[in-house]
C-alpha cells in the first residue's frame, strides 16, 4: 500500500491524523517423528494495523486483505469505530521522538539456512536422543524459522523500520521405565546465530531432564521452603510486574495502586526493563512510535515507575515510558527484555542454603491457575526433594500455591544462573520461604 496516498485519502475523509503499521512475516516450521517429516509448513503473512483520529476520538482496525479496496475499508472502519467511542483517553498520534537508538539485529547468515540444512540437523538430534537410552520411548522434535519486517508510519511523516529473524530447535521426549509411569520433558533453543546451537549439549540436557523425572515419590501436603528454577521465577515475575501497568492502576485493578516509591518486594529484588539491550528482543520504539529507554522498575524492592503509554501518561501528568503495545486495538501496555538482577550463589548453593525443601522445575496451568490481579496462584508443578542441601528423588504430581506478591517478599536468596528465556525475561533461580504444596 502506498502510505502517502493512504494518509491523503484519510485526510480527505475527515481523519485529522493517522498512523499505519505494515508487518510482514515469513516463516518455516518443520517437525519430525520417527525419522519422517510429519509437518513441513511455510507461511507468508502481511498485516496492516491502523489508527486514526476522527472528531477527536480514536478508531482502530487490523486487516490482512491487501487490494485496491483496502485503504477505503481501513478509513471507513476507523470512522465507524471512532464514532462509537466514548473514551475519555486523549486521542494522540505521536509526532516522533528527538532521537531513536536503531541497531541492526538481523542475521544475514540465518537467512541463508535452507530447509534441507534444518532437516539434517533434526535427523541428527533425533538419532542422538534415541541412542542415549532405551527408556526414551518417543521423540517429537522440530525447527521454526521466522523472518519479520515492519514499518510504522504516520501522517506527521514518522517512518520507523525494523527487521529481525530468529530460529528455534525444540524437542519433547517421552520416557518410561515401568508401566503406569510415563514422563515427558521438553526443551527449546532459540537464537539468530546458528553457530550457537550445539546438538550434543541440547541432547544431553534434555535426556537428563527426562530421565531424572523417573522413579518419582509422592510428597506430603504442607508448607515447604522451595527453590524455584529460573523459568518458574520468570512466569511469576511477569505476572507480578504486569501490575505496574498504569492503565490498571488508573482503573483501580492493581495492587500497586498508590505504591509508587514504596517497598513492594523484598530488598533482594531489583528488576529492570532493557528494551535497548542488543539481543533477540531488542525494540527501539514502541507501538505508538515512541523511542524506548532502559529503566529500573523495582530497585531493591521499591517500585520506581509504572509502565505508561501516551494516553495514560497524559492522565497522570507524566512522560510516557515507551511501553505502548497492541496495534489494531485500543493501545495497551507491555514490556520487553525484563532483567531480574542475579544473586551471588550458584543453584547448588541455594539447595545447601535451604537444606530441606523442594526444587520446583516446572509450573503448568498458568492461564487458569494464576490470577495476576489478586496475585493468587495454584499450579500443577514438577520438582525434586532437596534433602540435606542436595537434590534428591523426583516427586509425583503435586500443586504449588501461594500469592505472587508474598513470593517476591519472602525471598531467601537469588542464584547467579542468569538465562534469557523465550518470554524475553532474563531470570535466575530463587529460594523462597514457605510455599504450600498439595499432593496425595
Amino acid at each position: 500500500m502506498n502510505f502517502k496516498k493512504f494518509f491523503e485519502l484519510a485526510k480527505l475523509n475527515g481523519i485529522e491524523a493517522a498512523d499505519i503499521e505494515e508487518t510482514r512475516n515469513k516463516s518455516l516450521s518443520i517437525s519430525m517423528f520417527k525419522g519422517e517429516i510429519v509437518l513441513y509448513s511455510v507461511s507468508v503473512d502481511k498485516n496492516f494495523t491502523a489508527r486514526g483520529i476522527y472528531n477527536g476520538k480514536m478508531g482502530f482496525v487490523s486487516v490482512e486483505n491487501d487490494d485496491k479496496t483496502t485503504p477505503s475499508y481501513i478509513i471507513n472502519t476507523i470512522k465507524e469505530a471512532a464514532s462509537l467511542s466514548e473514551s475519555n483517553d486523549e486521542a494522540i498520534i505521536f509526532k516522533g521522538s528527538p532521537k531513536y537508538k536503531k541497531k541492526n539485529i538481523y542475521n544475514e547468515e540465518l537467512a541463508k539456512f535452507t530447509p534441507e540444512d534444518a532437516i539434517e540437523k533434526l535427523h541428527e538430534i533425533e538419532n542422538k536422543l534415541y541412542a542415549k537410552s532405551n527408556k526414551i520411548k518417543n521423540v517429537e522434535l522440530g525447527f521454526d524459522l521466522s523472518d519479520d519486517t515492519s514499518i510504522l508510519a504516520n501522517s506527521y511523516g514518522l517512518n520507523l523500520k525494523t527487521k529481525s529473524n530468529l530460529y528455534y530447535f525444540y524437542a519433547e521426549i517421552v520416557v518410561s521405565e515401568k508401566e503406569n509411569e510415563t514422563k515427558a520433558a521438553f526443551d527449546l533453543f532459540f537464537d539468530n546465530d546458528l553457530s550457537k546451537f550445539n546438538v550434543d549439549e541440547f541432547v544431553d540436557k534434555l535426556v537428563e531432564k527426562g530421565l531424572s523425572k523417573l522413579g518419582g515419590e509422592p510428597i506430603q501436603s504442607g508448607k515447604y521452603k522451595v527453590v524455584l528454577k529460573e523459568n518458574c521465577v520468570a512466569s511469576l515475575l511477569a505476572s507480578a510486574i504486569s501490575n505496574a501497568n498504569s492503565e490498571s492502576i488508573q482503573k483501580h485493578s492493581s495492587v500497586f495502586e498508590g505504591k509508587l516509591n514504596t517497598k513492594v518486594f523484598s530488598n533482594k529484588i531489583t528488576v529492570e526493563e532493557r528494551p535497548l539491550e542488543k539481543n533477540l528482543f531488542y525494540t527501539y520504539f514502541d507501538d505508538e512510535g515512541v523511542a524506548t529507554t532502559n529503566k529500573k522498575i523495582i530497585d531493591k524492592g521499591v517500585l520506581k515507575t509504572f509502565f505508561y503509554n501516551l494516553a495514560t501518561a497524559k492522565k497522570d501528568g507524566v512522560q510516557t515510558t515507551g511501553n505502548a503495545r497492541e496495534r489494531g486495538s485500543k493501545m495497551g501496555i507491555g514490556f520487553t527484555n525484563i532483567y531480574l538482577k542475579p544473586g551471588k550463589l550458584s543453584e547448588e548453593q541455594l539447595f545447601e542454603k535451604i537444606k530441606n525443601g523442594i526444587y520446583i522445575t516446572s509450573l503448568t496451568g498458568l492461564h487458569a491457575g494464576l490470577n495476576p490481579v489478586s496475585g493468587d496462584f495454584s499450579l500443577q508443578a514438577e520438582g525434586f526433594h532437596i534433602k540435606n542441601g542436595k537434590l534428591d528423588k523426583p516427586l509425583t504430581l503435586f500443586t504449588l500455591s501461594g500469592n505472587l506478591f508474598n513470593v517476591f517478599n519472602d525471598v531467601i536468596a537469588l542464584a547467579n544462573n542468569s538465562k534469557l528465556l523465550s518470554s524475553s525475561i532474563n531470570c535466575v533461580s530463587m529460594a523462597v520461604k514457605n510455599l504450600k504444596i498439595s499432593a496425595e
Partner: protein, 468 residues
C-alpha cells in the same frame, strides 16, 4: 475468494511431484469487538483475516503452506515451493473441475448479529454493564463486551470436490474486578453460541446472569482460601466439563493417538472410566458454540460416542492422522484459520446425564469440595497429567453446602481419574470456551451434569479440609 480455475491450476502444480492429495482452504474472516467499561464505550476493534492454506499429503507425510497474498503468482509460487518437498512422478490425475458438495445445515435460522445496528448492541452492553456497576460499590471495574465473528471459507481438493462454509459466532463477555481492603477478586463469564441476536436477547437471561455474576464476585471477595490435599470433589455442571475435556478428550484426538503418544492409544474396547460414565462429542447440536455443518477438510460431522458405560468406543479422527491408524476421518478436523494445518479436535464434548439429582449428590456426601466455576486447564496427552483451575467453590459437610472458598487448582492423571467418578447427576449443561492446540484456538463447548469424584488432589491455599 479464489476462482475455481485458479484453484485447479494451483492443485495441479502442487500435485506434479507425487502428492497423493492436495487441498486448498481459502478464508475471509471478519471479527468485531465492542466493549463498554464502567458505562462507556471504551473500545471497538475490527479485525480481518484473509488468505489461503495449501496442503499436500503423501502417505503419512504432510507439507503445508499459507499466504495472505492470494494472487495467482503468489499461489502458484507457493504450490511450486511445497511440491519441491516431494521428489517423484505425478500420482493423481489433474483436476479439471469441481463439484460443489452440499451439506445439511444443523442450525435453526436466526437473525445475524452483523445485521444488528452497532448502536443497539451498545444499548444492550450498557444495560448489562449498569447492573454490575450498581450492584455494589466494591465492584470497581465492570466490563461488558460483544464479540461477533463471521468466518467464510471454501475448500477445494484434488478429488475435484468443493465445499462452502459460513459460520457466525457471537460471544457476550461479562467481566468485573472487586476490591476491598487491598484484596482483589476478578470474575469472568462469557456465554457464546452460533445462535444470532435471539440467543443473547431471548434464549439467555443476560440480566439474571449479570446479577448472579455481581453477587458471586462479592461473595468470593470475602471467601476463605480453599483447602488443600486429596479428598472428594463434587464438580458442578456446565463448565465443570473442563475435567473431561482435559483428562480424556485431548487424549482421544488422533493428533496424539495416531502416533501412539496418547495414554489412550490402543485402548479401544477397554474400560477407562467408571461404568456410570458415558461421554460424547457432538458437533451437530444446533446453534452451539462448538458445532459445524462441515469439518475443515470437508467431512460431514457426526455425533461421536466416545465412552459407553466406561468402555472406550471411539476416537476423534481427521483424514491425515487417520492414515496412520488405517481409518478414515470421522468429521473431527478443525483449524483456527488458513494459517493452521487442520487436525482432529473436539467440538461439543460432554459427559452424558446420569440418574442422581444434584441435591442427592450433595446430600450423600460427608465432606468434599464443591467446585462450581472454572478458568480452564491443560494436559500433556503423553503423560496424562492434567490440571484445571477452579475459581468458585464451597465446602460440603454432612450433606449440606456450608461456606464459600476461593480458588484452587485440581490435578490428576487421565489414566485413572475417570474411574474415580462415583456419582453422575441428571442436570447436563454446556459451557463455552476456547481450546488451544496444534491447529490453533477454536471455539468448543465443554459439558457435564454435576458429578462426584471420590478423590483428587486439590491445590488450595488453605489448610486441611478437616479444619472446615
Amino acid at each position: 475468494m479464489i476462482s475455481k480455475k485458479l484453484a485447479a491450476e494451483v492443485i495441479n502444480v502442487a500435485s506434479q511431484t507425487g502428492a497423493d492429495f492436495v487441498e486448498i482452504f481459502a478464508e475471509n474472516t471478519f471479527s468485531s469487538y465492542l466493549e463498554v467499561e464502567n458505562g462507556k464505550v471504551e473500545e471497538t476493534r475490527n479485525t480481518n483475516i484473509s488468505g489461503v492454506g495449501l496442503r499436500l499429503l503423501k502417505g503419512t507425510q504432510s507439507v503445508y503452506g499459507s499466504t495472505g497474498d492470494i494472487s495467482r503468482k503468489s499461489l502458484l509460487q507457493l504450490a511450486k515451493e511445497l511440491s519441491a518437498s516431494f521428489k517423484g512422478e505425478r500420482q493423481i490425475n489433474e483436476v479439471t473441475s469441481f463439484t460443489l458438495k452440499k451439506h445439511k445445515n444443523f442450525n435453526k435460522p436466526f437473525t445475524p448479529l452483523t445485521s444488528i445496528p452497532k448502536s443497539e448492541v451498545v444499548t444492550l452492553l450498557k444495560d448489562i454493564n449498569k447492573i454490575l456497576s450498581d450492584y455494589d460499590p466494591r465492584i470497581v471495574k465492570s466490563t461488558t463486551a460483544m464479540i461477533i465473528k463471521t468466518n467464510d471459507n471454501e475448500i477445494f481438493n484434488s478429488k475435484g470436490l468443493m465445499f462452502k462454509n459460513f459460520r457466525e459466532y457471537g460471544r457476550f463477555i461479562i467481566e468485573s474486578v472487586a476490591q476491598e481492603n487491598g484484596k482483589i477478586e476478578t470474575r469472568f463469564d462469557g456465554p457464546a453460541a452460533q445462535g444470532g441476536w435471539e440467543f443473547f436477547t431471548k434464549t439467555l437471561d443476560l440480566k439474571a446472569l449479570a446479577t448472579e455474576h455481581a453477587k458471586k464476585v462479592i461473595l468470593m471477595l470475602q471467601a476463605k482460601e480453599a483447602p488443600s490435599g486429596k479428598f472428594p470433589v463434587i464438580i458442578g455442571n456446565g463448565w465443570g466439563g473442563v475435567i473431561f475435556h482435559e483428562a480424556c478428550g485431548h487424549q482421544l484426538e488422533a493428533t496424539s493417538v495416531a502416533k501412539g503418544l496418547s495414554v489412550f492409544s490402543g485402548k479401544l474396547g477397554e474400560q477407562i472410566a467408571n461404568p456410570i460414565v458415558s461421554a460424547y462429542d457432538d458437533p451437530t447440536i444446533p446453534n452451539e458454540w462448538g458445532s459445524f455443518n462441515v469439518d475443515d477438510e470437508g467431512n460431514v460431522p457426526v455425533k461421536h460416542e466416545l465412552i459407553k458405560n466406561g468402555i472406550l468406543t471411539s476416537y476423534l479422527i481427521d483424514d491425515f492422522n487417520g492414515r496412520r491408524m488405517n481409518e478414515p476421518g470421522n468429521g473431527a478436523s478443525r483449524r483456527e484459520s488458513y494459517k493452521y494445518e487442520p487436525t482432529s479436535r473436539m467440538s461439543n464434548t460432554y459427559i452424558a446425564p446420569g440418574k442422581s439429582t444434584p441435591e442427592e449428590i450433595i446430600k450423600n456426601t460427608k465432606l468434599a469440595l464443591y467446585a462450581v466455576s472454572f478458568g480452564g486447564g491443560s494436559v500433556n496427552p503423553a503423560t496424562g497429567e492434567f490440571n484445571f483451575g477452579c475459581s468458585e467453590a464451597y465446602i460440603v459437610k454432612d450433606g449440606k453446602i456450608t461456606e464459600p472458598v476461593r480458588g484452587a487448582t485440581l490435578v490428576g492423571n487421565a489414566r485413572d481419574i475417570l474411574m474415580h467418578i462415583d456419582m453422575v447427576g441428571n442436570d447436563l449443561a454446556l459451557g463455552q470456551g476456547m481450546c488451544g492446540s496444534s491447529s490453533g484456538s477454536i471455539p468448543v463447548n465443554v459439558g457435564q451434569p454435576t458429578i462426584r469424584v471420590d478423590e483428587i488432589v486439590v491445590g488450595g491455599r488453605g489448610g486441611s479440609i478437616y479444619e472446615f
